[in-house]
Amino acid sequence: MIVVQNKYISYIFERKPFFYLAIAGILCILLFFLAIALGSEVIPLSNVIQSLFGKGQGTSQFIIQELRLPRAITALLAGGSLAVAGAIVQVVIKNPLTSPDLLGINSGGTVGAMFYLFFFQSFVPFLFFPIFVFAGSAMAIAILLFFLKNKIETFRLILIGLALNSIFAAITTASLIYTNEKLGSILYVWTIGSTYGVSSQSAQIMLVISVILMFLILPLSRILNLHVYPDEIVVNAGEKLPEQRRALLLISVLFSTVAVAYVGPVGFVGLIAPHLAKKIIPRDYFFILPFTFLLGAILTLFADILGRTWNPPYEFPLGVFTTMIGAPYFIYILLKMEGRRI
């Protein structure tokens, strides 16, 4: 136990969460360096570290600064943000089987992105692109809440999510068909989730937004801890349930927007990372949230490395591999849930 006590605050921390966070952090950093080093041309780790501190030279410096580093950063942040978005949604909806992708929130964001590309691209700068993604995701969750009418049942939740997903996927596919072949192909890869061709500017914007969002959600972890309990208890504890629910969902949508806008609607990260995190660190969301972030980041970094090194020169979108890892794990969770209420 670690005790922090002074005039203003008094906290008791367990030691274990710090230990797990440290392990996940080290793993994440390791994969981050690997993601920069590995690729069609392998760069020795010493060179990687040198050029990260601005002492690199020649082509490897260019490859790292302009190509690999933005990709590694966006992969890391996309996985992390989607995982946190999933963790928040799972608490608020009170269902461990939901995630931004199963509920149709990410595919709503994809439709928003298509809207931008077809109607607004000519006169709205790319900087505002995430706003369209956010609008699409927010629309999806608004429709979801409208049909749920505050009574959250697993069966209806999944059906409505499926309905949203299928209609949004139809719109996206239709848009892909109507673009020219080359753009359609690039866009299709993005709809699976890929770091292909991200700029260093995108990486910087993502970094700033995710850090701000993390600072926004961490102080709210106390509320998240409370929302785990049934609605009546939350209300009896004096919390404003509907308002908090809406605020938390808004933050969750912001998190997923960051990922969807720059890397695409990566599947299953928002589902399995929080699940795994809660298994390892129970109870306190002050630790669960950063841990989930790291687990999601590890997953997408790994998928990105795999996608680039599996069979070069072909490049696989990282979403393909997160699905390959996430889907079996999800089925495993389902099978183990025997006897519960769904």
Partner: protein
């Protein structure tokens, strides 16, 4: 509307009318006289005859066959799993068939229609049996089976992407198999039509066993039904019908989900009526959807799978309102 036979006959009349309307209308309208002429005095030089005989009619035939097969497989899969959410699309059977067709085309460059069908059947069987085994493991809980199916579909789609990219293909090709379409499909000849009809007749003779499934597992067992055997038999039929449709038109969603519900609304629980009803309604539905797609979005060949998703999504919301399912 007391007499169900009368309703069935009406469905048949509608089907004939719909087929003719589907053939005549489109980007360009042809008169009924031209259609009759193209049969009685076919003139290969006449572009109208050519289009009717070689594009419009084969397309309508495919729509009828695929619609009927998907409606039928949906009815069977809902009967044996006793799950109102079951359908070959949601269970990932369509995706499995699509994956193996892509695999087959990559291995053998020029795959004939029969070859495509064989691969499609293999894929449908593998995906179908995985879903049924998992369904058994979760005690046929509707929500869990549906989730397993959704996740399996995502998994198979990813696998399809991987093999396509691995062979240097355009990743977008996946869309050709994950969204069904009636455009540029190989014409179906008489053998297939005959084969499908024989299968339909075969299933009709087993309607009694399907009625037993509807009574619930315990009652069916008490009445002497070998549940395991019949589940297996009907799964085979589901796979044949779904595999056939995917091989011809790709994975068209939602028909297998919607048609059984509509049939049950019209005809109750008697499978002797539900079987022909699903066949006729399925064919009607796909013909109508195809016609609408061509009339609303002319000139471009919008895949019919997309129209089906747009029609199907509100249906899912309707299902979500039916509380008793959960």
């Amino acid at each position: 509307m007391k007499n169900p036979i009368l309703i069935l006959l009406m469905c048949l009349v509608v089907l004939v009318t719909m087929s003719i309307v589907n053939v005549l209308f489109g980007h360009q309208f042809y008169s009924f006289q031209t259609l009759v002429d193209s049969f009685t005095q076919y003139n290969a030089q006449d572009p109208e005859h050519y289009i009717l005989q070689n594009i419009r009619i084969p397309r309508a035939v495919i729509a009828i066959l695929v619609g009927a097969c998907l409606g039928m497989s949906g009815l069977l899969i809902q009967a044996i799993t006793q799950n109102p959410m079951a359908s070959p699309c949601i269970f990932g059977i369509n995706a499995g068939a699509g994956f193996f067709v892509v695999l087959g085309i990559l291995i053998f460059k020029d795959l004939s229609l029969v070859g495509v069908m064989i691969f499609s059947f293999i894929g449908a069987s593998i995906a179908g049996f995985i879903v049924l085994i998992l369904a058994n493991m979760v005690n046929y809980s509707p929500v869990k089976i549906a989730l397993v199916g959704i996740v399996l579909t995502a998994l198979i789609t990813s696998l399809t992407s991987i093999i396509i990219i691995n062979n240097g293909g355009d990743p977008q090709e996946v869309l050709r198999w994950t969204t069904g379409s009636l455009t540029d499909r190989p014409a179906v000849d008489l053998r297939f039509m005959l084969g499908v009809t024989v299968l339909f007749v075969l299933v009709s003779f087993m309607a009694f066993q399907l009625n037993l499934f509807a009574l619930g597992n315990d009652t069916a067992k008490a009445l002497g039904q070998n549940i395991f055997l019949w589940r297996f038999v009907f799964s085979m039929f589901v796979i044949l019908f779904a595999g056939f449709s995917v091989a011809i038109a790709g994975a068209i969603g939602f028909i297998g989900l919607i048609i059984p519900h509509v049939s049950r609304k019209l005809f109750g629980q008697e499978y002797k009526l539900l079987i022909p009803a699903s066949i006729l309604l399925g064919a009607n539905f796909l013909l109508l959807a195809d016609l609408l797609t061509r009339l609303i979005v002319p000139r471009t060949s919008l895949p019919i799978g997309l129209t089906m998703s747009v029609i199907g999504a509100p249906f899912l919301l309707y299902l979500a309102k039916q509380r008793k399912i959960a």
